[in-house]
Structure formats: structure tokens, C-alpha cells
């Protein structure tokens, strides 16, 4: 048992309001630089939607992640033979137009334009060339289903749904969408690390943060192809790849990463997970049906004395083990079984987990007789052509899940490699907690019914209270359990931080970090 620790995160999607404060916080700190304008290490997507970059989930286009062949897994678009033969021209590299051409406006025209018979306007100009441009794409272009004929309807996760099911999702009256914040998953089996020909990308042993050594990156661009989440970005100016660093300088000094700290909906939880690194290879190459379960199994119980002993033997600090025992992510992922990894079928073993959104599922559609309704209403009332009712009743406890206006298959394609039972299990728990709380606060649901709901979902009132607490009332220290970083051991890699004070981004200390020629 090779016990290592991983800083992990949980996103409670029901709480995400899609405000992009996380994206802006991240951008302001890390990617407000030349060559990085187009990068959003943290971005928030509307689902259904094609996201950023366009259709990133479609690995037939981008060839990211691992694929299983026999008992082994191979990188789909990179790896030893492909990385080296495609080094002169990477055939599946996303281009800037797959993300968007960063733009600003020529504000000086407002001041410097000669007098004319019409007022001047600041035209959009490219932040790459400085030339006037037409804005065709942005990092959040399909926000709130905008451009749905072009984008949301082409969401790669819809492909397994029948045309009728797809069409139902876009009927105005039953429509639903939710937000999906994404950062680097800091995977246990990262494809970017495996694909990097120059060995510039590595995973930190202490906390599992995946980083790119900027002095070793040689712009072979294979990480961009290999990452199925498209979370390594190529800086076109410096000729280096960059990615989310999980704000490790903040974590090391006990602060939550900027995206989490700024989160308005408080949807994010951060904590340590202990896992068994010996299992990485076998788990990553297990069958698609068992991928999620296997990944959950390799996360170890931090209270198990054997695990603790093995962790200590492996150099995991006591402070880290303490943090793991109090980790909110461990509770969401393991104890309560509420969270799922994003696209486990990419086989990178992502270490960010999502609590699937309940709200688009809650309301369902019920067949009613419109004629009967019509008699009760006056003649001016709107007459809907179809016979259904938007139904939020809890009469049947879990009855609404299967006829949810948001198909479970869609969620399953996102979070459990297509297995709807895993999503349903989690949605039932969320719903049971809701029923339980309604019983407690509103009181229109009987205790029997509430208990029935809890036991069917596999919960107890105590667990439901704990879930309710961590979901609705947590304090900062409950949401972010950051292990001490032991900088006294790690200081060599940072050197004197005072040198880089006052700089944004990477805080380059001298001119040695400028674009080469």
C-alpha cells in the first residue's frame, strides 16, 4: 500500500449560480498576461452546452485522455509513438479559434477620432494582432443556453440520448440547465504528465498538485492534446504550456485557492484524500462499468489504523493525516457517497468531484387533462397545446426522478460514464435530505414518509443532518480543510518569496523568463 495524499475538491452543483466570480478571481491573479488572455484556468459552463473550448468533451475531435485496449490503457492522441511522430505538427491540437480570439476595444478612438458627423465608437480589436476583428466566440459564449441551436443542441453528452429525448430538453416549458465550474482535475493518472515529451509536467508527491515546470517545457504541445478536460493551455507568447496550479502558493500559506475563496454560492469544498497509489494503474485500466466504484475504493479511510501506519511510513505528515480525517471532500465522496468525478471514462482518475444537481431533476412533468383545467379558467387564459403539468409535489417521494425533465442519462454521461444508477443513487440521497428537512421545517410531510425516504436512499437522520449542515450552514473552516504545507521542507523550490512580491501571475523574477528567440 503506497499511501499518498491528494488535495481534492467537491463542487456542489445545486448551489452554483453561474456568476463566474471564481473565473474572474482566477483570471485576475494568474492569467492576466500576454499570451494567457484566452486562458481561463477556471471556467464555468452552462450544461447542456459545448463549453470551452468548443466540444471539449468530444474525444473523437481532440483525442484526449486514455483509451482501453485489452487489459492496458493507452493515451488516445499522444504517448511515445504519437508524441514523437507528431511533434512537428500535432494533428489534433485545439487552435485558438476553438477557444476564442481574445478581444479588447480601441478606446483611444473615442478620444482621438477627428470630428465627424457621427460619434466614434471603440471597435473590437484582437488582443493578439491588435487589428480590428469581429467577435465570434468567447470563453462563455453559450452561457444560459445562448446560441442553443449552434451550441447546446450539439453538446457531446447528448449523443447517447434519443432525438425525442433531446428535443424534449429544448422545449421551452420543460427546459432546464445547470452550471458546471471546471478547473484542472489534478488527476491521479494525468494524461498531460504522461504525454509530455520533455518531462516538464509532474505531480507533486505531497499534495498531488499537477504542475508544469516552465523552465523545462519546450512547447511540444502534447499535454494540450492529451488532457481530455482541455485544462492545459498553450501560451502562444512565451511558447510554454500553463495550467491551473491549484493556487499552491495560497494553499501552502493556508489560504483557500482563489476560485474557492471567492465563490459566492459557497459551492466548493476542499480537503485531503488519502489514496493507494499502488492501485492507480489497475483502477485506470478497469472496465468502464466499474471505473467509478474502483476509483472510490482506492480512496482510503483516514481513520483506519493500517492506513495511518502506511501513510506515516510513506512520509505523509501528521498534519496531513489530521486534515484527511476532517476532510469535507472525504465526507462527500466516501462517507455520504454524494459526489462523482467528471467524465470518469477518460480514465485519468480526476480528483475533483461533483455533487450532481438536483434542481433540474426535482420538477417533473405530469400528464393532466387540459380540458378539465380549461373549464375552471376564464377564456382569456393561455391555452397550452399539450396536456402536462409542471409538477413539484412530493407525493411519490422519488417518483419524479425517472420522468425528470432533465434526463438522468445526460447526467450519467457527465458523471458516471453513462451509468444512470450511480447518478440516481446520489440524487435520491439529495432528495431524501430535502424531504427530511421539509418534514422538520415545514411539517407537511409526515415523519414516516420522511424516514421512508431516508432509509430508501440509505441515509439516517444523523447523516441527513450532517449533510444538511455541510451543505447549507458550513463555516469557512468546515469548507476548506487545508493541511499545513510544511514549507520548511519545501522552501527550496520557492526560494525567497519576497523577490516576487508585487507581481501577478508567475511573478517572474528576472528577464530570464522572457520569450526566447
Amino acid at each position: 500500500m503506497d499511501v499518498r495524499s491528494q488535495i481534492s475538491m467537491v463542487f456542489h452543483l445545486d448551489k452554483c449560480i453561474g456568476c463566474h466570480t471564481c473565473s474572474v478571481a482566477c483570471k485576475n491573479i494568474w492569467t492576466d498576461r500576454k499570451g494567457a488572455e484566452y486562458m481561463w484556468w477556471n471556467n464555468v459552463e452552462t450544461k447542456p452546452g459545448t463549453g470551452y473550448p468548443g466540444k471539449w468533451e468530444d474525444q473523437e475531435i481532440y483525442k484526449g485522455g486514455w483509451k482501453k485496449d485489452g487489459d492496458k490503457i493507452y493515451l488516445k492522441g499522444a504517448g511515445r509513438p504519437k508524441s514523437l511522430t507528431n511533434i512537428f505538427h500535432n494533428p489534433h491540437l485545439p487552435k485558438i479559434d476553438d477557444y476564442y480570439e481574445p478581444f479588447t476595444y480601441k478606446y483611444l478612438d473615442l478620444i482621438e477620432s477627428p470630428a465627424g458627423d457621427d460619434q466614434p465608437t471603440a471597435r473590437p480589436i484582437s488582443m493578439i494582432t491588435g487589428e480590428p476583428m469581429d467577435i465570434k466566440m468567447g470563453p462563455n459564449w453559450d452561457d444560459d443556453l445562448s446560441g442553443s441551436p449552434d451550441y447546446a443542441r450539439n453538446d457531446p453528452n447528448l449523443t447517447k440520448l434519443s432525438p425525442a429525448e433531446q428535443e424534449a430538453m429544448f422545449q421551452l416549458e420543460r427546459m432546464a440547465f445547470f452550471y458546471l465550474p471546471r478547473i484542472c482535475n489534478h488527476c491521479l493518472n494525468p494524461a498531460c504528465v504522461a504525454a509530455c515529451p520533455s518531462q516538464a509536467i509532474y505531480k507533486r508527491g505531497e499534495d498531488g498538485v499537477v504542475l508544469i515546470n516552465q523552465n523545462v517545457c519546450r512547447a511540444w504541445r502534447m499535454c494540450v492534446t492529451a488532457c481530455p478536460y482541455k485544462k492545459t493551455y498553450y501560451n502562444w507568447n512565451t511558447g510554454k504550456s500553463e495550467k491551473c496550479i491549484l493556487c499552491y502558493p495560497r494553499i501552502e500559506s493556508g489560504h483557500a485557492p482563489a476560485c474557492m475563496h471567492s465563490c459566492v454560492g459557497r459551492i466548493r469544498y476542499l480537503g485531503v484524500l488519502l489514496y493507494d497509489a499502488d492501485q492507480i494503474e489497475s483502477v485506470a485500466s478497469s472496465d468502464e462499468e466499474s471505473l467509478v466504484d474502483q476509483q472510490m475504493n482506492m480512496i482510503l479511510d483516514p481513520f483506519d489504523p493500517e492506513v495511518i501506519a502506511a501513510a506515516k511510513a510513506n512520509g505523509v505528515a501528521d498534519s496531513t493525516i489530521d486534515a484527511a480525517q476532517y476532510s469535507p471532500t472525504y465526507k462527500f465522496v466516501k462517507t455520504w457517497g454524494l459526489a462523482l468525478p467528471l467524465h470518469p471514462e477518460f480514465r485519468t482518475l480526476p480528483m475533483l468531484f461533483y455533487v450532481p444537481p438536483l434542481l433540474p431533476v426535482m420538477a417533473s412533468v405530469r400528464d393532466v387533462s387540459n380540458e378539465a383545467q380549461q373549464e375552471k379558467l376564464n377564456p382569456i387564459a393561455k391555452q397550452w397545446p399539450d396536456n402536462w403539468l409542471y409538477d413539484t409535489s412530493t407525493e411519490e417521494i422519488f417518483g419524479t426522478i425517472d420522468q425528470a425533465r432533465f434526463p438522468l442519462e445526460y447526467m450519467a454521461n457527465l458523471f458516471s460514464a453513462g451509468d444512470t444508477s450511480k447518478v440516481k443513487e446520489r440524487i435520491m440521497k439529495l432528495m431524501a435530505v430535502r424531504i427530511y428537512r421539509r418534514h422538520k421545517t415545514v411539517g407537511d410531510i409526515s415523519e414516516e414518509k420522511s424516514n421512508e425516504a431516508l432509509s430508501t436512499a440509505g441515509l439516517t437522520p444523523e447523516l441527513a443532518d450532517a449533510i444538511y449542515y455541510l451543505t447549507s450552514l458550513p463555516k469557512f473552516d468546515d469548507r476548506f480543510v487545508i493541511p499545513a504545507a510544511h514549507r520548511e521542507q519545501a522552501i527550496e523550490m520557492m526560494e525567497f518569496t519576497g523577490d516576487v512580491k508585487g507581481n501577478t501571475g508567475f511573478g517572474f523574477k528576472d528577464k530570464s523568463a522572457e520569450r526566447g528567440s
Binding site: 511540444w220 502562444w236 492507480i280 528567440s517
Partner: protein, 242 residues
Amino acid sequence: MNTLNTFLFVVFPYVAGIVFVVGVTYRYRRTAFTVSSLSSQFLEGDKLFWGSVPFHIGLLAVFFGHLLAFLLPQATLAWNSVPVRLIILEVSAFVFGLSLLFGLLSLLWRRLTNPRVRVVTSRMDIAIELLLLAQVVLGCWVALGFRWGSSWFAADLTPYLWSLLALSPETDAVFALPLVIRLHIAGAFLILFMVPFTRLAHFVVAPLHYLFRPYQVVIWNWDRKAVRNPKEPWSKARPKNN
């Protein structure tokens, strides 16, 4: 003329060699950040295919062809002793040379005409591309105009290059070669000279070690023993700040 010849074929090769070794080592060790292939595929990828692929593959083929005649002159002559083999060798070398020329021209065209690529183009990029272009044009000219170069390279230039390495240059033969060939030789040394100052530096970090490493890389910054021993966390690695 003789002074110029002596400079180009006796002095300059050593200057170029030393500048290459010292320059590349310095750049790699001190300003590693600048060592990058500076790929512009992200900004423009379609035209790049028709430039980069024929250019690089052609360049590698031609480079290793020269290297082969340099390292194994007798084997080259033996190969060439059968006329069919000689013609196959010469034609394929010329084919790679021409595709290299095609690739280089399309790269240059792309660099000059694509507005996005021009943003990431420095004067040195243009200069080195023109230098390479001159070298490749001269090379094709030599292949066509002074044919069976594989044979006379092995017979005449291999001894010259070895004599350079032996620190006793024998230059009579080189001095007597036609101007085009001499320019081609001098061009090679000039390119070697320019490597540390240009993006060509990326060829010395060709990622061959990728073939031999495991896929996953985990780096521990802590001393995993010391972090377990609360009594002596400071003795092994004294913090520099905080």
C-alpha cells in the same frame, strides 16, 4: 581570397563550434525558460502542416545523410559502387532536399503573411529562416549542379571535417572547390554558430529521453524522512524565509 578562405574554413569552424557548445550550454543552464520550440501551431495550424512536416522531416533526412557520409565514408562509397544504388541515394536525397525547400518556403510565406503568426515573429526568426533558405537553395544547387555529391563528400569533405576535429585542418581540397559548394560549407558553420542565439536551440532538447521514462512523474519536494521527524525538521533543510 586566401585570407577569406582561411577564415571561413579554418578559423570560423572553430569559432562556430565553440560558440555553439558554450552558447547552448549557457542558454540551457541559465535561461532555460527561453529554450522552446516556440510553436505557432496554436495560432495557425493548417498552413503549418504543409511547412513544418516537409521541412522537419526533410531536414532530418538530409542532416542524417550528411552525417552518414561523414561518419561512414567507406560504407557510403561502397553503397554507391552499384550505379542503381547511387542513383537511388542521390534521387532520394534530392527529393528530401526539395521537400525541405518547399516546407521552408511555405513556412516563410506563412510567417510573413499570417497576421497572427507575424505577432510572434522576431527579426531573428526571419533572419534565421532566410539563412536556412539560402543554405537549402545552395544545397539543392550542389545536388543538381555538382552531382554525385554523396561520393565526393565522402572522399573530400569527410577528411576535411575530420582534419578540423583533429585540430590540423587540411584545406587544399576545400579551397579548390567551386564557390557554390564553399558557400554551402560556410553556411553550415554559420548555422551552427547561430544556434544558441535563435529558436534553432530547440533541436538540442529533442525529447529523446521520453522513450525511456515511465509515463507518470511524481516529485516530492519534502524530505519524506525529515517530515516525519518533528525533532529535526530544521537541521536538514533550513528555511530561507518565513
